[in-house]
Symmetry: C2
Subunit: 323 residues, 2 copies
Amino acid sequence: MNETQILILQSFFSPEEENRLRDALPGFSVRFCGPADWADALPEASFVIGNPPVPLLRSAKKLRLLQLISSGANQYAAPGALPEGAQLACATGSYGPGIAEYLLACTMSLFLRLPAYGANQRAHAWHDEGPVRAMKGASILVVGLGDIGGQYARRCHALGAHVTGVCRTKREAPPFVEELHTFDELDALLPRADAVALCVPETKQTIGLMDRRRLALMRPDSVLLNVGRGTAVVTADLVQALRDGTIGGAALDVTDPEPLPPDHPLWDEPRCILTPHISGGSHFIGTRERIFSICLENARRFAAGKAAVNLVDRTTGYRVSQP
Amino acid sequence: MNETQILILQSFFSPEEENRLRDALPGFSVRFCGPADWADALPEASFVIGNPPVPLLRSAKKLRLLQLISSGANQYAAPGALPEGAQLACATGSYGPGIAEYLLACTMSLFLRLPAYGANQRAHAWHDEGPVRAMKGASILVVGLGDIGGQYARRCHALGAHVTGVCRTKREAPPFVEELHTFDELDALLPRADAVALCVPETKQTIGLMDRRRLALMRPDSVLLNVGRGTAVVTADLVQALRDGTIGGAALDVTDPEPLPPDHPLWDEPRCILTPHISGGSHFIGTRERIFSICLENARRFAAGKAAVNLVDRTTGYRVSQP
């Protein structure tokens, strides 16, 4: 038995998946850890699968690879979070398809006026709400073209929409994006969009991105969607924009503050779809399976002494290798 | 001026579209007709664009081609409806994309439990409804693979679903359908489906298709959608199936009876999305434009003495030529 200790988060994987992870690490000492075990187990661990509390990681002197089960890696990539020489891999790629489906379902629901038809249904009213927008031919502005934004853009394109992307740095547009621009061009793009989808992480650049001024650049029949972090939208400005008809509707899976307090006025906006941060996580059937397959791949690579996939650059916080 | 009289339904097309239709028929006497004009104008007409009342068509002795603005052509294809030798063309192909988008939006809304999240929102409750199904990997059963069913199947396939089609006669599956079966195999297919979408016209075979027995063949987490005719579902049986959890949800744009009476129990089913027959018609931006382009094409062909597109077989009622 190899004395190298492998720690794997307990009860996230199914028993069958746990067995497959164990089989991928022949000869290693594999231990499944609950929250109470991390402090005791981390000092001996070479390879960890899971998201242990950051403060405990200082004791993980033997750590060579930390495989997160999350997409976000910022707190683990922060200076000093991991011991020198340890590598960090994330689960980016697992969550994108689910969150993209959430975005698409909400875009189409808003285009079709399903919230208004829902209100009619509760009033038992057989009432026609008039012309509606189709995805086919719609102009979709995807702000942030990472895993989530890219997966959403791909789906919009497949349904015949005209997709414009906004990203941090100038690069060539992927085949499912008609135009790719940088953030400094955002103001000029907002008036053209039938839907604006925010798929950005929380950074200095994105906090307060959609404020009163930028909401006013959108059209009265255009809709706003947010799945990144709630702070990308100035909530009070959004409430006002929905009330006075500056924009046509909104769908938010993230809010600022979060959870939204029970007395917040946003709950009662009839053209706003509100969900409690459920598009990510492992809510979507398939997401957990994708996380497992990244973990399994890196377990195999660790056992074989090969370079890991989905590595995160610990200085920039961005993913450097693809799965 | 050619004395051949052409009648075109008034105010369905925009003034610019009316001009383009007129330009496509150089030398013909083109008249735009309101509802009051049909009786007077039909006896002289050789080519009609619109849906005049069927009883008046008996007087249209000179009629050579009737171009409908509807997809359904049954009453016009009925024996004796049109004079001998007149051809019938429909607008099939115009409505499919819009209705398919309605179906997709409702499928995804039901998978994502948006009706339940809507109820939570009205209660100001930040409450997680648990795991949800994605289109990616879902098993979608499309009952009726005509224009509407085909367009829906295409979109489901593009989003990574496994699509099974059911149609009248055995034929080769199109590339976006994994399996194609006939109606006699329906019972065996229902238990496998995550969503069952009814895209069938009203015929002897489809009236009462989804009754208590067939609803019980669906799974408790599966959802039913109907956009064809309300009679394809036995409404009382559906209400019962939603109440006792036999199926997981429903979306209906057509009902039996229609409109649904204000005191009908279906209005209050929390897992049912109800809309007032709005997925067809020209509600979707783009639908009217597609109808226009079929009409324009057949106007050009009529003027040139060429065979029309989108012809309907007057004995079977089915379309025989593609646009």
